[in-house]
């Protein structure tokens, strides 16, 4: 019992301080996608952009009874950069990335 309680309180997304229980609740409410978990709990939306918690949450989703393939894109930037650095960068053409 005690261990279960500890698990409920466990923080799964450190940047946004989202607990495992909050992610579990979102899944119980019918959420089956990473994007849905983000929108419902704000996990993976902090400074590190889910570098640690994304994989843990993917696992929780894949273990849920209603499992679906977990798909979610990645967005730039790969690392944080200042707006000044970005403003002075080459624009590139329409298809630059």
């Amino acid at each position: 019992m005690k261990e279960d309680h500890l698990q409920e309180e466990m923080i799964i997304c450190r940047c946004q301080e989202v607990t495992e229980a909050e992610v579990r609740q979102a899944i119980d409410q019918g959420c089956r996608s990473l994007k849905g978990i983000k929108n419902r709990t704000e996990a993976m939306m902090g400074l590190c952009q889910g570098r640690t918690c994304r994989r843990l949450i993917e696992r929780m989703l894949s273990e849920s009874p209603q499992q679906m393939p977990v798909t979610q894109s990645y967005r730039p930037p790969v690392r944080t950069l200042t707006l000044n650095t970005l403003a002075e960068a080459e624009e590139g053409g329409e298809n630059a990335c």
Binding site: R40, G46, P76, L83
Partner: protein, 401 residues
């Protein structure tokens, strides 16, 4: 399954409609092909703008809606972070001053508290603009910010409290139409018989329309936004620029530079956590939700030119959302004479957060057959305001190869 009202679409509009209908005592089922918040309503900034609304029905709806949020906040179990912040619209060039002045004059006449500020007054209100070359700004103290995901969740949980059912990850196979009347929705979770269907599909509303043989003139308009690390309070208001207004309402007046083609215009809001949301673009690129290097650089250039204090702040992410754009930038909130039992509530472009409450109320009253408490003239929002030629021209203009 049976429901009085079946709502198609789990964005802020669909959820607001579900909330108002369920609260009025109707039985409601909401169908969404993904999770709630999967599209436009979670890929936006936090602004509830009044200054970006055209005087007339557009502004009247926003003013009506914004008055509802304080009471809704008390009723909801979710904190929607509704805060009156005001908006400052930065004016960078002399030739924009007259245009913005007349826009502000028309807004003042419509009951909005807008004032024109010179550069010194602008800087006093917005120290983060120190070092920017500006000819002044317009300022309104009535605009607000809100938490987009929490607003949608609040409507959703509120609707469920009043008995609404949600079918997530559910696909619609077809609509049952008998004697020009919608009587049911066939889904991969089973058949739902119903009295009303609300098409709240946003950028996907035309596809739902097609399944009923209707052409709905909505095309996606992409908006790219940068997210920064959380920082202490940088701005006291929402910040936009004159070009943002031009890009929103008169893309035809913009030039042919890369910036103008991407519809670059400043939008800046700060979340409760301290993240800044810096935008943005207005691009017609179909259903493509990627962010592009070109737009990110130009957003950073434009943003730091008006708010130099942004320069040393880090961005952590970029995202893009598709805004449901209509030929006249007004939403379609409409019944359809040739198809009884259908209400369309879509095409709010970037105004979904601002107009969600009034839209939910209007649709629930339309369905209940009651006079509209908002007094909004629905003829201006009807699908019938577009002729066959209007719709063909619109589709042709924005057809994506």
């Amino acid at each position: 399954m049976h429901a009085d009202v079946v709502i198609v679409g789990g964005g802020v509009i669909g959820n607001a409609v579900a909330f108002y209908c369920a609260r009025a005592g109707m039985s409601v089922i909401l169908i969404e092909q993904q999770d709630i918040l999967n599209g436009t309503s979670s890929a936006c900034d936090t602004a509830i703008h009044l200054q970006s609304k055209n005087p007339g029905i557009h502004l009247a709806m926003a003013l009506n809606s914004i008055k509802k949020y304080p009471a809704l906040q008390k009723e909801f179990d979710v904190d929607i972070h509704f805060t009156i912040t005001g908006t400052m619209l930065a004016i960078q060039r002399e030739e924009q001053w007259e245009v913005m002045k007349s826009f502000a004059d028309r807004q003042k006449a419509a009951g909005l508290n807008v004032s024109l500020l010179d550069p010194a007054q602008t800087l006093a209100k917005q120290p983060a603009m120190k070092g920017a070359e500006l000819v002044g700004s317009t300022y309104c103290d009535q605009d607000a910010t809100i938490h987009p995901q929490n607003l949608t969740k609040a409507y959703c949980f509120g609707a469920m409290k009043h008995g609404a059912k949600y079918l997530l990850y559910t696909k619609i196979r077809s609509f049952r139409i008998e004697d020009n009347c919608i009587t049911g929705v066939d889904t991969d979770q089973g058949m739902i018989s119903c009295r009303w269907v609300v098409n709240a599909g946003g950028v996907f509303a035309p596809f739902i329309g097609k399944m009923m043989g209707l052409d709905i003139p909505i095309v996606p308009r992409r908006g790219q936004i940068l997210v920064t690390e959380p920082v202490p309070k940088l701005t006291n208001t929402i910040v936009n620029c004159a070009k943002y207004i031009a890009a929103k309402f008169r893309p035809d007046l913009l030039g042919n530079s890369v910036e103008d083609r991407l519809g670059i215009g400043l939008s800046l809001t700060q979340t409760e956590r301290g993240n800044l949301l810096l935008g943005g673009t207005r691009e017609f690129v179909g259903y493509n939700t990627r962010t592009t290097r070109q737009a990110m650089v130009l957003i950073a250039k434009h943003g730091t030119a008006i708010i130099p204090a942004l320069k040393q702040i880090n961005i952590i992410r970029s995202f893009a959302g598709l805004r449901p754009y209509t030929p006249d930038s007004l939403p379609i909130i409409s019944t359809v004479p040739e198809l009884k039992g259908l209400v369309i509530a879509a095409g709010h472009e970037g105004d979904g957060l601002a107009l969600s409450a009034v839209t939910g109320e209007i649709v629930s009253e339309m369905i209940a057959g009651k006079p509209l408490s908002s007094g909004i003239d629905l003829s201006q929002l009807s699908l019938a305001r577009f002729s066959r030629e209007d719709i063909d021209r619109f589709y042709h203009k924005y057809a994506i190869a």
